[in-house]
C-alpha cells in the first residue's frame, strides 16, 4: 500500500485519537436541535485503519479564478457585494504542528445583513443580488489559505425565545485523511454575542472556544480597501511509528 502522506514524510501511522472533551458536547439542551439528534450510546473507539487514513484529494484545477473571492464570485455584472470588506486568512496545520498543504477549504456565510441565500432562510434582512455566500480554495505548500469576503451580519434564530448567532463564517476542511474531516465556525474578535450563543457554548472548554475567535490582523489589512482576520485551523495528526512494525507493504 502506497504511503499516503505527501510531505515526503515516511511516517504514516494511525491518526492521533480525538480528544473529545476538547470538542463540543453532542447533547446540549440549550441548543435544542441537538437533543433529538445526539447519539445516546457511547461511540465505538478504535485505532484508525486505511479507511480513515486515506482520503480524497482535490487538485488546483478544480478552482475557478474567483472561487475564493466572495465579493465577486456571485456578481452578475462585476458589482461587488455589499458589506464590510475583509480578508480571512490563516494556515491549516496538523497536531504535529506541520502544515497541511494542498487541501481543500470551503466556507459559507450569511450576507452583511445576516441573511443566507437559502430557501429555508426567510429572515427580514434582504438578499444582496451580488452575494451568494460560498467560496473555496486549496492551501499552498505551507498550508496557507485566504478568502476575500464581507463580514457577515448577526441574525436571530429559532431556539430559545431570543437567540442570536454571533457573526460567523462556516469552514469545512478535508486534510489528507477522511478521519481528519472537520467543519467548524470562525467568530470575530470583540463580538458580544459569542458569549450569549448556545451553539458556541456547546464547547465547554473555554480555551477551545477562544481558538474559534479570529483576531483583527492589521498587518494583513490593506489600507483603503479591506480589514483582515486571521484564523488558523489544526487538524488531527498522525502518530509516528518508529518503534512499531508496519503492515506488510504499507
Amino acid at each position: 500500500m502506497k504511503d499516503m502522506t505527501d510531505n515526503g514524510e515516511t511516517d504514516a501511522g494511525p491518526l492521533i485519537p480525538r480528544q473529545r472533551h476538547m470538542h463540543p458536547v453532542p447533547y446540549d439542551p440549550e441548543y435544542k436541535t441537538s437533543v433529538p439528534r445526539s447519539p445516546k450510546w457511547p461511540l465505538l473507539s478504535m485505532e484508525s485503519t486505511p479507511s480513515e487514513e486515506t482520503g480524497p484529494r482535490f487538485g488546483h484545477s478544480l478552482l475557478g479564478p474567483l472561487d475564493n473571492n466572495l465579493i465577486l464570485n456571485f456578481s452578475k455584472d462585476g458589482s461587488p457585494a455589499i458589506g464590510e470588506r475583509i480578508l480571512m486568512h490563516g494556515r491549516v496545520l496538523d497536531e504535529n504542528a506541520r502544515p497541511v498543504p494542498h487541501t481543500l477549504v470551503e466556507i459559507w456565510q450569511a450576507n452583511a445583513g445576516g441573511r443566507y441565500r437559502h430557501v429555508k432562510d426567510n429572515y427580514l434582512a434582504p438578499l444582496d443580488p451580488n452575494f451568494g455566500g460560498c467560496g473555496r480554495t486549496i492551501t499552498d505548500a505551507e498550508g496557507r489559505y485566504q478568502f476575500l469576503t464581507i463580514r457577515p451580519g448577526a441574525y436571530p434564530w429559532p431556539n430559545r425565545a431570543n437567540d442570536w448567532r454571533p457573526m460567523h463564517i462556516h469552514i469545512s476542511v478535508f486534510g489528507h485523511s477522511f478521519g481528519q474531516r472537520l467543519i467548524t465556525q470562525m467568530y470575530f474578535e470583540g463580538d458580544p454575542l459569542i458569549d450569549r450563543c448556545p451553539i458556541a457554548a456547546t464547547i465547554k472548554e473555554r480555551s477551545q472556544l477562544d481558538r474559534l475567535v479570529a483576531p483583527l490582523d492589521m498587518a494583513r489589512a490593506r489600507p483603503l480597501d479591506f480589514l483582515a482576520y486571521k484564523f488558523d485551523i489544526v487538524l488531527r495528526g498522525r502518530r509516528q511509528t518508529m518503534f512499531e512494525n508496519r503492515l506488510e507493504g504499507m
Partner: protein, 199 residues
Amino acid sequence: MVQSLDTMIETPSQTAGPYVHIGCIPSFAGLPGVYPEDLGLSPIAPGAKGQVITITGAVIDGTGWALRDAMMESWQPDAAGRFAGQDGADPAVSGFCRFAADKDSGLFTLTTVKPGPVPHRSGGVQAPHISLWIVARGINIGLSTRIYFEDEDNSADPLLSRIEQRPRVDTLIAKKTAEGQYRFDIRLQGDNETVFLDI
C-alpha cells in the same frame, strides 16, 4: 513545571448548521453557477470496475423523524480494495461522494461500486465497507459510521468484532432489497441507534 509539548490540539468542531448546502453543494442549494458542478457528485466514472450498487436510506432522529437537512460524505476503495492514489487503483473510482437527504422525503441515494476488502494494520482483512460522515444542524461534531453489506462475509471484520452487544452489529449492515440495491438507515438516537465511531 515541565517542558511544554510540541503537539497542538485539534480545532474544535461546530455544527454545520442548516445551510451547509450553500457551502458544500451550492447547486443543490439553489445557487447554480458559482462552481461548474457540486463537489463529489459521484464516486465513480463510467467504466468503473465491479458491481454498481445503489444504497438508499434516511437519517432518523430520536423521535423517528427523517432529517430533511442532513448532508453526508462517503469514502471507499475500488472493487479491489484500493483507494484512489494507491498503486493499481481503478482510475474510474474517486471513492468520494457528497450527498444530501431529499428536502421533501428525507431519503438519500448513493450510487457507487461495491468496495473490495481492505487490509487491517494488525493483519487480517476488513470486510467490504463504505465510510460515512454525517453532518447537520444539531450535530455538533460530524458523526462517523460505516456501511457493511449483508451479502458479504462480515464474520472476521475487526471493527464489527469489537461491538459487544451483538444485535447492534446489524445497525452497520445494509440490507439487500434487490440485486444491486441496498437499504441503510442511520438512527441518531433511540431504538436501534446506529453504532457511531471514534476512529
